[in-house]
Amino acid sequence: MKDNRLISVQDLKVYFRSNATTARAVDGVTFEVDREETVCLVGESGCGKTVTALSILGLVPVPPGDIAGGRILFKGQGLLDLDDNNMQSIRGNHIAMVFQEPLTSLNPVFTIGDQISEAISIHKNIDTGTQRERCVQLLRDVGIAAPEQRLNDYPHQLSGGQRQRVMIAMALACDPELIIADEPTTALDVTVQDQILRLFKYIQKTRAMSILYITHDLGVVTHIADRVYVMYSGVIAEQGFTSQIFNHAKHPYTRGLLASLPSRSKRGKRLYSIPGSVPDPAHKPEGCPFHPRCPHAIPSCWSEYPQMCDYGEGHLARCPVLFEKTKKTIDDK
C-alpha cells in the first residue's frame, strides 16, 4: 500500500506575510494521492486550494509567500527541500499543472507548437523533428482537429476550449505521473466543461496517471473523483471516498455544500446556501473556523480547534460535535 502512494502532503502551512498581518492561506493541510487515482480538492473560493496546488510545484511567490511548515513527499522525496535546479526537473516532467484561465495561461506571442515542444525539449533530449511529431500526437490525443495546422497557430486564434486542450496537451508532454488541474473548467462554458471533464477521465484511464483535481463544483466531483478532500479556510474539513462524501457527509460544511447543489427533487424550491462567507485568512475565528456559519455549533466550537474524527474506511471529518452525535467514539472501535 505504501508503495502505491504517489504524493503525500503533510501538515502543509503556507502563510502570506505583509507588514501588518499574516494571512494563513493554507494552515495545516494533509492529503495523499495514490498512483492512478483521481483526487478532488473541493472548497469555496479563497479557501486555499490554489495555494496548496502551487506550493506542490514550488510556484508560490516568496516573498510575500512563506512555506511556514509541513512536508510534501513525492515518491518519498521531499519537494520543499529541493533546490531550484532539481525542482525544475520535477515541474512539467513528473508533476504538471493545468491552470484555471486558458485565455491568459498561454503566452500570446509564441505559437502553440513552440509552447508544447518547449515543454518537451526542457526535459527530453530529442531532435526537433521527433518533437514535432510528438506535439501533433499530443494535440490529437486531446482532441484537436487538424493538429498539423494548429501547431502554427497562436493562442488567440483558438477558442477557449481548444486553448484548455492545448494546456492539457502541454501538461501531458512529458508523461507526468501527476497532473494538478486547478479549476480547469471554470472559465469554460457548460458544454465545453463536459468535454474537458471527459478528456481528463480518458487521459487518466489511458495513461494511468494520477490527477489532483481542484474545483469548487461538487457536480464535477461526482463525475471524476475516486476520493474527495473538502477544504475549508486552509484546512481539510472532511475526506473520504466519493460515495462516502456524497451519501454520508459528516461535516456540517460538506452537508451545506451538498444541500446547495441544485437537483431534480428540489425543483421549484429556493436553493439552500450556507450563510456568511469564507473567513479572511488574515483574521480567522478562534476555535473551529466554520463555527460562525455552522448550524450545529456549540459553545466549545468557539474556543477549541476541532480534531479529525475517524469514521473508518478512510472517511474522516473535522467535527467532534457530529461525531459525538453519531455516538461513535474512537474508544468504541
Binding site: 510556484l59 484561465e101 503566452n107 500570446p108 526542457i122
Partner: protein
C-alpha cells in the same frame, strides 16, 4: 500587408499636409516679423524693409505665401533669409554633425536601459534594484544643464582634455590618431550626458513593464513547465514586455532634431537642434518651417516603422 502600407502612406501624406498648413499659420500669425528682428539697426530703413518684404513675398496674402514656400521646398530652392544659403544644404550639414551624437546617445540609451531595467525587475526590492532606483531618480531630478557643467569641469580638470565643440581648433596638421582621439573626447561627453537622462527614464519603464508581465498567468505556466528562470525571464517575459517599447522606438527618429537643443547649446555643438533654435531667434521662416516639416516627416516615418514592427512582433495584430 501591401494594402496596409499603401493606406498608411496615403494617410500620412494627408496628415503631413495638415501639419504643413498649421505650422505655416502658427509661424506667420505669431507676432513679430522677420523684418522687425532688429528695429534699432540703422541699416533697416523703411525702404530696405519694404524691399525685403517684397523680395520674400511677405506682402502677399498667406495662401500665396504658403504655395510659394512649399513650391520652393519641393524644388529644393528654399534659401535662408539670414544668409541666403540653401536651407536643405544647411540642414544636411547640420544633420551630419548631429548624427554621431544621436547615434552614440541612442545606442547607449537603448543598450544600457534594458539590462539595468530587467535586472531591477528580477531583483525587485533587493540592493541592486534599490540602488538603480535611487540612481535613476537622482539622474532624472538633476537638471541636464547643471549636470553638464559638473561633468565638463570634472573632465577638463582631471583629464585635461577640451570638450567644447566638435573638435579642438587647429588640429588639422596632427596625426590621424590624435584627431580621432580628439573627436572621440568631444563626442563622448555630450552623448553620454544625453544618454544618462534617457537611461534613467527608460530603465524605469523597462522595470515596470517587466514586473507587469512577470505577474501574468503565462509566466506561471512557463515556470510550471520546468523552464529555468533565465528562460522564463528572457524568453517568455521579455518578449511580451518589449511590445510597448516598439512605439517608443519609432519615436526616436524625431529626437534627431529636437532631442538635443540644450546639450548642443552647452557644448557649442553645431547640430540640428541648435540651428533650429537660432533660426527661431532670427525669425528665419524658411529654416524654421523646413525643420518643422522635416521633423513632421520623421515623426510620421517613426510611427510607420513602429506599425510595421508591431505587425512583425505581435501575432495578435493582423491586417
Amino acid at each position: 500587408m501591401l494594402s496596409f502600407i499603401g493606406r498608411s502612406v496615403v494617410q500620412k501624406i494627408i496628415t503631413l499636409f495638415f501639419v504643413s498648413v498649421v505650422s505655416f499659420l502658427i509661424i506667420h500669425i505669431a507676432p513679430g516679423e522677420p523684418s522687425q528682428v532688429d528695429p534699432m539697426n540703422p541699416k533697416f530703413t523703411p525702404e530696405v524693409v519694404e524691399r525685403f518684404r517684397e523680395e520674400f513675398h511677405l506682402d502677399k496674402p498667406l495662401h500665396v505665401q504658403y504655395i510659394y514656400f512649399y513650391q520652393n521646398l519641393f524644388t529644393g530652392k528654399t534659401v535662408s533669409w539670414k544668409d541666403n544659403q540653401s536651407v536643405l544644404q544647411k540642414i544636411w550639414e547640420r544633420f551630419l554633425n548631429s548624427l554621431p551624437l544621436f547615434i552614440v546617445g541612442t545606442v547607449l540609451t537603448w543598450t544600457l536601459s534594458f539590462p539595468v531595467g530587467i535586472r531591477s525587475a528580477i531583483y525587485r526590492g533587493r540592493l541592486y534594484d534599490r540602488s538603480a532606483t535611487f540612481l535613476s531618480y537622482l539622474l532624472i531630478s538633476i537638471p541636464g544643464f547643471f549636470f553638464a557643467y559638473v561633468l565638463i569641469i570634472f573632465v577638463v580638470t582631471h583629464f585635461h582634455v577640451p570638450v567644447i565643440g566638435m573638435e579642438t581648433f587647429g588640429t588639422g596638421n596632427t596625426s590621424t590618431v590624435f584627431v580621432v582621439m580628439d573627436r572621440t573626447w568631444h563626442l563622448l561627453l555630450p552623448s553620454v550626458l544625453g544618454a544618462t537622462g534617457g537611461i534613467a527614464v527608460l530603465s524605469r519603464y523597462v522595470r515596470s513593464q517587466m514586473l507587469e508581465v512577470g505577474g501574468q498567468d503565462y509566466i506561471r505556466t512557463a515556470r510550471a513547465k520546468g523552464l529555468p528562470q533565465e528562460q522564463v525571464h528572457y524568453k517568455h517575459a521579455l518578449r511580451n514586455a518589449l511590445l510597448p517599447f516598439i512605439t517608443m522606438f519609432g519615436l526616436i527618429l524625431p529626437g534627431l532634431i529636437g532631442g538635443s537643443v540644450i546639450i548642443e547649446s552647452i557644448f557649442s555643438w553645431p547640430g540640428m537642434g541648435r540651428m533650429a533654435y537660432e533660426a527661431i531667434l532670427a525669425r528665419d521662416y524658411p529654416v524654421i518651417l523646413t525643420v518643422n516639416f522635416v521633423s513632421a516627416v520623421l515623426v510620421l516615418a517613426g510611427t510607420f516603422i513602429s506599425d510595421i514592427l508591431y505587425i512583425i512582433a505581435d501575432p495578435r495584430i493582423r491586417l
